[in-house]
Amino acid sequence: LQDIRNTVGNIPMEWYQDFPHIGYNLDGKKIYKPIRNKDELDVFLEKMENPDYWRTVQDKMTGADIKLTDEQVDLVHRLQRGQFGDVHFDPYEPAVDFFTHEVMIHPVTNRPADKRSFIPSLIEKEKVSKLVHAIKMGWIKPRKPKDDTPTYYDLWAHEDPNSILGRHKMHVPAPKMKLPGHEESYNPPPEYLLSEEEKLAWEQQEPAERKLNFVPQQYRCLRAVPAYSRFIHERFERCLDLYLCPRQRKMRVNVDPEDLIPKLPKPRDLQPFPTTQALVYRGHTSLVRCLSISPSGQWLVSGSDDCTVRFWEVCTARCMKTLPVGGVVKSVAWNPNPTVCLVAICVEQSVLLVNPCLGDKLLYGATDQVLESYVPPEEERVQPVQWVTATVEEHSKGIRLLIQHSKAVKQVTWHGKGDYFASVVADNSNMQVLIHQTSKRWSQNPFRKSKGLVQCVLFHPIRPYFFVATQRYVRVYNLLKQELTKKLMTNCKWVSSMAIHPGGDNIICGSYDSKLAWFDLDLSTRPYQLLRHHKKALRSVAFHKHYPLFASGSDDGTVIVCHGMVYNDLLQNPLLVPVKVLKGHAMTLDLGVLDVLFHPTQPWVFSSGADGTVRLYT
């Protein structure tokens, strides 16, 4: 072992891990690691088979395996037990006292004292005299006791307003702590104490969410008040707030909420408009989907889901006539021509033209005559629909003509002159919109291509325009030139209904996402104003013929009447003011008002609802 003593010294042997040698011998030659080719399996086998494995250790300095002898193992055991390494050492030998507390008659050493212990030291004397001299000369000052107490003086004696720097001006002082309220008192009024539930709620809240950071408590007298356990916490949190929280100047919006309300003309000054419910037309047993009124304003027709159409006298709310039609009535439209007494009714796949035989006998007689005077043309033309004359039985009920479509019809609307009418078919093809001519019993399909699901259509009251509302757009077609004039973006998700101002320059669109869009056709193709008055989907919108009024009916059961003044002066924008919220319809099946309609001459509005009634507001 002597010859391969390692000279690397006391260093971590890991440094030689990656080398073939583990150090140098006395001659400076490398000591190579002993060849080790044992893998884990070999190690394991040796562990199992070699009886001396447990006493084999590896010499880190040389890398060699050394088997410990019995003596060495003994030594290890003794050291582990905390005994002395030497076997023969006896730690319990009786001690010999050399010096004891007992005074003995014989001294341990009997050496006489030195002479120098009797005479003062010259060296020390010299040193002391030097110090004394230095102190006398003032070179050294005796150490003063350190005084910790700070000295204060008048710091602000020369307060100079000019010395206020920019940073002082920009300094944001820390907000003061909130002053305590009554609830923090040791003896608060009883209403400030928390009840059991409030206490429970307080405990369940997050500490940061709590409105009060303590539970109000009441003590009978000052003597009973204990220490507040979170006092130091609160001071500490204040310190943290002071130096960790960034400060920011916040401009508080200090507005009077009343100032936010727009100044609108008073509804009182915008009269007339309907204000109160005057009449209720009862009779239908199911939802009343649609309404229409005769041009004279005397008769009202309503179509309902109970498969009947009822004719009412407006002023008396009397049901003059009930016409069972054998299907759900989707739409009714009274011919706007005052000389013709004719109602178009959508029932399932057909449009019925009905003469209600109400009012002037001459008038409805003349209508029948006009219808009967039809002479079929010589050559049969191919038509998208079938025109069928009513049977005798039907004739007695008032039905004059049936126009049978290929699919269900959902809307019918007359042109202002009263000869043409348009019907909308619930379909996805180009056959959705059809225009019919009553006098010639002639139908045509104006569109070659489908532009989406058509919701409703409308004729312009004066000019030859035709409005088609799809889900999101309203397209305006010129019927004479046969071209698309305009495309209005409604900004709504799904248009439900549409109405046009009698002047013809403004359109309102109601949508299922409870918005009402007012378009000024001269202004832009985007809505002039989007009104969100209703809380639920709009079902129907309507304009008044003469008065500057429009109304919207919604699923929330209300009809909102607005004043919509359109000025002749092109520079002045329309003035829209809501003037009345009319309530009356009961909510049924989550539906409220299904249709609204204005009286042609009076400022009255009709509404039909899901509760099976028609109401008149005057």
Partner: protein, 461 residues
């Protein structure tokens, strides 16, 4: 950091609270003894200044500690002191941060104190007035403690006035000359004058009164408050240094006790609970003593820091207090209240009647409706009957109000989206406030009725 003295004063709240907290820390562990001593010294100096300048305005006994508010050079300074108990030192607090803050605060407070003492012509560091010193010394004896220690304790006793640089002359109290500010009307001036007078009166609230503090009462806060308002105060000799007179002194007018019963009462003085002092200071007048006798159930202690705006909930005690400040007699009111209560009961009966009437009306409506339905449903000739209609008086005011509210609602519908959002938010906040106030009022009412019923029961029993 503080270019002007007023800036420093504005930032004094936290400094004082922290110094008062640190001065109550034990002299071992947590932080340096010197810091604690310095804090104590500065705090006591500040208290002495407040006593000398009589600038204390409001005090409040909270469950957290005692709040004080002083007005120094027009700046309100509020601080809180903990109740005098040993602290349960929390482990999740970093004392180094607090110590750093305290170091800054002690420096600030030291300079501020110096300036404040100077402004009152007082010596700094403060010295107890010579006369008082002579009085105190023989009583205490020479074997009390080291001079340096007894000095601070004597100072903290707050019983003696401080020495001035210039001997006090009574010419100090010169009446203020009036300088009419432009644009100020005579009324405003009058109001200001009145305010000034009220302030002077407030400062002399306890003048001429001699208090004696029993040993169970927190001495320091009470002595501080009483001295601030011109009262004389003393305590048991064994309790603290600086006692000026004995319990048996016949000139004592008020003795502050906090025990349920007092044996051996001396005639000629009021025995009162400490809350009386606090409430009187906040009310700016000496309150009637009857509510504060020992063992009596105390009236609620209200926070003087709350100024109720319109629409806020005001506790009835505060209303009573405000009435008292206006100079109305509270005794009459309580009688009136009782009468009112009786009246209220009657009113309740009336209300019941009214409700019944309303019910009648609704019943009638129902009848009408039924008739209508019958009419419409069966058009066949029923025997037509005309019932005499009831004359319904229209409340014009109500109608007007309804119309206005409807107009408002309609106008709100026309608001722009962003404004509507803002408006709704503001209104929500307002409504929440009202709701909270209503809740408190309802709670109070429930409590009062419960108490009343209990009273009735006990009376019957």
């Amino acid at each position: 950091r503080y270019p002007t003295f007023v800036d420093a004063l504005r930032d004094l709240d936290d400094a004082l609270s922290m110094c008062f907290l640190f001065s109550t820390f034990p002299r071992t562990g947590k932080c340096h003894v010197q810091t604690i001593q310095l804090c104590r010294r500065l705090a006591v100096e500040f208290l002495n200044y407040v006593v000398a300048s009589q600038s204390l305005r409001k005090v409040f006994l909270s469950i957290k500690g005692i709040y004080y508010q002083a007005e120094v050079l027009g700046q309100p300074i509020t601080w809180i002191t903990p109740y005098a108990f040993a602290h349960d030192h929390p482990t999740d607090v970093d004392y180094r941060v607090m110590a750093t803050f305290t170091e800054f605060y002690t420096t600030l407070l030291g300079f501020v104190n110096f300036r404040l003492y100077q402004s009152l012509n007082l010596l700094y560091p403060p010295k107890i007035d010579g006369q008082a010193d002579v009085e105190v010394k023989p009583a205490e004896g020479k074997d009390y403690a080291m001079d340096s220690e007894s000095y601070l304790e004597k100072l903290s006793a707050l019983s003696a006035s401080l020495a001035r640089v210039v001997a006090p002359t009574h010419e100090d109290e010169v009446e203020m000359d009036e300088f009419p500010v432009e644009g100020e009307t005579a009324e405003q001036m009058d109001a200001r004058k009145k305010e000034q007078e009220a302030l002077e009166k407030h400062k002399k609230l306890f003048e001429g009164l001699r208090f004696f503090l029993n040993r169970e009462v927190p001495r320091e806060p009470l002595a501080f408050i009483i001295r601030c308002f011109g009262g004389q105060v003393s305590w048991d000799k064994s309790l603290c240094i600086g006692a000026t007179y004995d319990v048996s002194d016949p000139s004592i007018t008020h003795q502050i006790v906090d025990r349920p019963r007092v044996e051996k009462q001396v005639v000629g003085r009021y025995y009162l609970q400490p809350q009386w002092v606090f409430d009187s200071v906040n009310a700016k007048l000496c309150l009637p003593v009857a509510d504060y006798f020992p063992g009596v159930l105390l009236p609620p202690h209200l926070s003087p820091f709350v100024t109720e705006q319109e629409g806020d909930y005001i506790p009835p005690e505060k209303l009573k207090l405000l009435a008292m400040q206006r100079g109305e007699n509270p005794d009459d009111e309580s009688e009136e209240e009782e009468e009112e209560e009786e009246e209220e009961e009657e009113e309740e009966d009336n209300n019941d009647k009214e409700e019944e009437e309303e019910e009648d009306e609704s019943e009638e409506e129902m009848k009408l409706k039924k008739m209508e339905e019958q009419k419409t449903q069966s058009n066949k000739a029923l025997p037509v009957k005309v019932t005499a209609g009831k004359l319904r008086l229209e409340d014009k005011q109500r109608l007007e109000q309804e119309q206005q509210s409807e107009e408002k609602r309609l106008a709100i519908m026309m608001m722009k989206k962003r404004e509507k959002y803002l408006y709704k938010k503001i209104m929500f906040g307002k409504k929440r406030k009202v709701r909270e106030a209503n809740k408190l009022a309802a709670k109070r009412k429930a409590h009062d009725t419960a108490v009343k019923e209990e009273k009735k029961k006990s009376k019957k029993a």
